[in-house]
Every structure is written in structure tokens, then in C-alpha cells.
């Protein structure tokens, strides 16, 4: 493997991490919004959120990304591949995060919320200081797990011609006729990314415990 091969790994790692990171940043608040819609039992919107989550969760990453990248230009919206990848992963992350938030909302004791209401706290204060700290704490493991899932699904971006770690490894293997070494190197990069995420989870958990929320 020459210098350019290593460089392509760096590019690949950047796009893998970039896509997963943006998807998480978009997916956490949107997922929370959807979960709150279902939690508040708003008639039509709650059902819509349920349908959205059910369909998107069962759609493979490859299919969704091809739908966005090849399908939308039929309506005159042509996207650059990277943007298409960001949109498709954000859609998936929103659906998965909605389920994670929802399970911690189900575990949350509604009577606390009603007590806050009885004390005359405004809707925002109730959300920010009563609800959010508790559901945030219980959904951290799920959210980190979802991030590792996103990283593991990121090779799907190679179907629309983007360079990610897996595709970089495969291309180098096809050129040098030695597929195993680049694949192992790619695997090592994934291990590092996943380890970093697990480390992040530990950090967040100890910080929350020491803050004593």
C-alpha cells in the first residue's frame, strides 16, 4: 500500500465519521420531538410518528439511500451524494432515536410531571428541569449503541459513489490483488471508532453520576 492508499483511508474515515456524526446531531432532537409527540398522545400526529418509525426502521440503509439519491431527482431535487447520505442517515437516526427516547419516557413516572404542574411550573421548565435530565440519563446507553449502529451502517454510502472506509479497503484490495491487509486495516479503524464511542459513554455516565442528577 502506498501513500495515496493511506490517504484514501483517511478520507474514508472522515466521511464515515462525518455522516454518522451529523446524523446523530440531527437525529437526537428530532427523535426526541417524535417521541414526545407519541408520549403526549396527540391523536393523529402520534399515529403518524408511529408509522414513520415503523417503516423507516425496517428499511435497509442501502435502499433508503438509493431512494433519496436516485429517486428525488425525479421531482427536480437533485442532491450532491454527500448531502443525500446525510439526509438518509438522519432519517434513520431520527426513527431509531425516537424509539430510544420513547422507552425512557415510558419508564419516566408521569406523576412527577403532574406534581411539577401542580407547583405551577411552566411547560418549558417542566420539560427542561424535570423531564429531560431523567430521560437523558436513562437513554445514554441506547443513544451510544445507536451511534455504533450508524457507524456500522455507513458503508451503505458507497452505493452512491462516496468513499468510506470499507470502499477504500475494497478498492485497494482490487488494485493490489491482496484484499486481506487493507480490509484488516479498515477493520482496525472501525474498532478504534467503536472503542472511542464506548469511552464516550463511560465519560458521560460518570459525569452524570458525579453531578448527582
Amino acid at each position: 500500500m502506498n501513500f495515496y492508499d493511506y490517504l484514501s483511508f483517511v478520507y474514508g474515515a472522515l466521511s464515515t465519521v462525518g455522516v454518522s456524526f451529523v446524523a446523530i446531531i440531527v437525529g437526537i432532537p428530532l427523535g426526541l420531538g417524535l417521541a414526545l409527540l407519541r408520549w403526549a398522545r396527540i391523536p393523529v400526529f402520534g399515529k403518524c410518528a408511529y408509522l414513520y418509525v415503523s417503516i423507516v426502521r425496517s428499511c435497509p440503509a442501502v435502499t433508503l439511500i438509493m431512494l433519496i439519491y436516485f429517486g428525488l431527482p425525479q421531482f427536480g431535487i437533485s442532491l450532491n451524494p454527500f448531502v443525500a447520505a446525510l439526509i438518509s442517515f438522519s432519517i434513520t437516526a431520527t426513527a431509531f432515536n425516537c424509539e430510544i427516547w420513547r422507552s425512557s419516557l415510558l419508564a419516566f413516572d408521569r406523576s412527577q410531571y403532574e406534581a411539577a404542574q401542580a407547583f405551577g411550573m411552566t411547560r418549558w421548565v417542566r420539560f427542561r428541569h424535570v423531564l429531560l435530565p431523567q430521560i437523558w440519563r436513562s437513554s445514554i446507553p441506547g443513544l451510544i449503541n445507536e451511534m455504533t449502529l450508524l457507524v456500522k451502517n455507513s458503508p451503505a454510502i458507497s452505493v452512491i459513489g462516496l468513499l468510506d472506509i470499507t470502499r477504500a479497503a475494497q478498492r485497494i484490495g482490487a488494485r493490489t490483488y491482496e484484499p486481506i491487509p487493507p480490509l484488516l486495516l479498515g477493520f482496525a479503524i472501525y474498532i478504534i471508532i467503536v472503542m472511542l464511542l464506548i469511552e464516550l459513554q463511560k465519560r458521560l455516565e460518570t459525569r452524570i453520576r458525579s453531578a448527582g442528577i
Binding site: P60, V62, M66, G71, A169, P179
Partner: protein
Amino acid sequence: MNLTDFQIIYDERETIYQGIEATLSLVFISGVVSVFVGLVLTPLFFSKVSWLRKAVEWLCSAMRCSPFLLFVYVIYFGLPSYGINFDKYTSGLVALIVYHSAYMAIILRSAWVDIPADILEAGTAYGFRGAAMIRRIIGPLLLMRSIPMVGNQWIQIIKDSAYLGIISVVDITAAFNSIQSIYFNPFVCFIVAGLMYWLLCLLIEFIVNGVAHYARERIA
């Protein structure tokens, strides 16, 4: 997007049947086999032979860190350099089975740890030990307790099977991709493909709920 797009999909149904057949057979075979392999791997987590235990733990955490597509490439492009050649369908199937067996083993292990100790003690008191204990007492309990998680993993298998289009196995996604590349109706094609995956997942959910209902009365 108009009706003729759907008409085209109907006219090309032969290709789609092929895709559905490939996806269904891949998912069914690997779904069943990976549960059995998982059942074989799980006791090794508690083995007294330390290298065996280490090997299984290492295998499972390696699979957890690796993306499925990377693993498919290892099987499809990597193994031939060691003289092991599979065709594309078989390498897809092997990849699905090996990759998801590791996940099944992890799922079953966590269910194993959760089995109440008194049931195991009662089993020992009735003279069960070793293989008979696993087959008669732990095994059924393990399967019934872990069925919701196993169902989630089956859904993951369905989603991962779409990656096999990249090594040109004609599954549902690849079938619709080939249709849209001829007729230029990508939106309808991929929407229909997505809905097919959705129906498949609903079917799995339905089956899992049925089994979970049956299991609930029996899991102690």
C-alpha cells in the same frame, strides 16, 4: 411519478420474484441457522477452558465492531486468496450466518445470565447435569426468554441482506435497482422495495409476538 411506473413494476414481476426469493431464502436460512450456531456458542462463554472462552469472546466482539459489508468483502474477496472460493450467493449466506451467529450468541448469553438460580438448582436437584441440563432446562428457557431480542436480530438480518446487492446477489433491492436503471423510475421502485421490507418486518414482528405470547406463561 404516475401509474405507468407501477405498471412497469408489474410487467417486470419476474425479476422481482427472483429478488424476493433470494432475500427470503437468505433471511430464512441464515435466521434459523444463526440461532442454532448461537445456541452452540453460548455455553462456551461459560466454559472452564480459558482459551475456548477467550476465542468466543474475541469472535463476538470482533463481529460487533465490524460493519456487515466489510465482513462480506472478507468472505467474498479475501477468502479466495486462501483457496476458499464461494459463489456470490453462498458467500452472502455464509457472511450472514457467521456475522449474526455472533450477535445471537451475545443475545442468548445475556438471557442465560438472567435465568433465576433456583430453576438451575431445582434442575440439579432432579439430577440434570451437563448436556442434559442444557438441552432440557436451560435451552428452552433461553429461547423463550430471548425471543423478542432474537426477533430484533432477524429484522437486522433482513436489513443486512440488502448489502448483498453490492456483491451482485439479486435480492429485492438489487432487483428494483436493475429495473429502475432500465426504465428510469427510481422513486417508485425504491418506495415499493422499502414497503416490501416493511411487510417482511411486520411479518417477523407478528410471528415473534405470537411466540412471545406462548412463552410468557412458561418462562417462570
